[in-house]
């Protein structure tokens, strides 16, 4: 998560989770995710869900709610479909498994800085460098995306304000094309700035 509040850092679970290296957390998450798909027993899946709940709660209650709310609809639908077809136990197992995995993954995300994740990504991609493929543009593109996202919001608000200063009508869709065109021009400007600073020249 990008914004870590000071209150988060005071929680012991959060601090312990954050102390674990990002690569270890990711490997553990991958192993657990793969393993849980072969588990059918409800008590084991329930235990996994409880651990996921505890870790997600420990790393911040907001992340917990954000992780579960959007998948609730699909979980209810899946449980209903299984229950109608006669095997509610399988439906319950599916819901417990998805809930546990989503919560564990959220806990890992909430306790790992984006910069740490970028470092892991760079390490994962490093074999490409041995065969001569540059990997630096990948990291640069990721950081540029994080910078561009709020910039696009500002760009839209600017265009909207300019429109409303001149017209009593709402702008709506009329701004979409100028918005994309001006964003493209911004990107080209950024490209020039990168080139001027020798972004991808070999050292």
């Amino acid at each position: 998560m990008i914004g870590l509040s000071a209150a988060d850092a005071k929680r012991p679970v959060a601090r312990a989770m954050r102390a674990v290296p990002a690569g270890v957390k990711l490997l553990a998450l991958a192993a657990v995710s793969a393993g849980l798909f072969f588990v059918e027993r409800l008590d084991l899946l329930g235990g996994a869900l409880a651990i996921g709940l505890a870790l997600a709660w420990g790393t911040g209650g907001g992340a917990l709610l954000r992780a579960l709310r959007p998948i609730a609809f699909m979980l209810v639908f899946a449980f209903g479909a299984h229950a109608l077809l006669g095997d509610w136990r399988l439906g319950l197992a599916v819901c417990l498994r998805i809930g546990a995995l989503v919560l564990l993954a959220s806990a890992v995300s909430a306790s790992t800085e984006v910069s740490e994740m970028l470092a892991v990504l760079d390490r994962v991609l490093s074999p490409l460098r041995w065969v001569g493929i540059p990997t630096r543009p990948v990291g640069v593109a990721c950081m540029l995306t994080l910078r561009f996202a709020p910039m696009l919001g500002e760009r839209w608000r600017g265009l909207d304000a300019a429109w409303r200063a001149r017209s009593p009508r709402r702008a709506g869709w009329r701004l979409v094309v100028p918005f994309v065109v001006s964003a493209l021009d911004d990107a080209d400007g950024t490209a020039d700035a990168l080139a001027a600073r020798g972004a991808f020249t070999r050292k």
Binding site: A67, S109, C142, L152, V180, L184, A191
Partner: protein, 180 residues
């Protein structure tokens, strides 16, 4: 190189912004709230071409996987890859490739027609294939039940395909140097 990286990042950010800007969140279709984020995938395929469009989608997915809460509704992090809609997420780069390739193949037609056909075939046909298979694998529902669940999103996605084709045509008209 710099230009490619910047444009790829721009479209990755555009996909993110489409999930955040409330003006562009479409209202309800079939009772399920839908967002404009697949519109960004369609635009990436139509405007950057198949391969750079797919790169933009992959960069967006990488940033989300690393924890940036940029999916619609402020979602992000690795939980996305464990949820029931993981198939749609994984299908995005393939949808972008399909959209770009089909749009190129239809270059002789009017751009609005090519854009709509490419967006519908890639953004609905290809994307739903991945999404439905993923939904079925993760939830254990059979393919028919998963298809029924996914079909609620179709009306909104057809609307997005038309909007994407229109925007792509207008932007290409304004910036003709935007070659694939």
């Amino acid at each position: 190189m710099e230009k490619t990286v910047a444009r790829v990042a721009l479209f990755a950010a555009l996909i993110a912004a489409l999930g955040l800007v409330p003006q562009l969140v479409l209202p309800f279709a079939g009772g399920v709230p839908i967002t404009a984020q697949t519109l960004g995938v369609m635009l990436a395929g139509l405007m950057l071409g198949p391969w750079r469009g797919a790169l933009a989608v992959l960069v967006f997915m990488a940033v989300v996987a690393m924890g940036a809460p940029l999916l619609a509704g402020g979602r992000g992090g690795l939980g996305v890859f464990a949820g029931p809609t993981v198939g749609f997420f994984v299908g995005w780069p393939f949808a972008a490739i399909a959209i770009g390739l089909i749009y190129r193949a239809m270059r002789a037609r009017a751009p609005i027609v090519g854009g709509i056909v490419a967006s519908v075939l890639g953004g609905i046909g290809v994307l739903y294939f991945f999404g439905i298979v993923g939904l079925s694998l993760v939830t254990g529902m059979d393919l028919i039940a998963a298809t029924v669940a996914a079909l609620t999103f179709v009306p909104g996605d057809i609307l997005k395909a038309v909007i994407a084709a229109f925007i792509a045509r207008e932007v290409r008209r304004a910036r003709p140097d935007l070659v694939d």
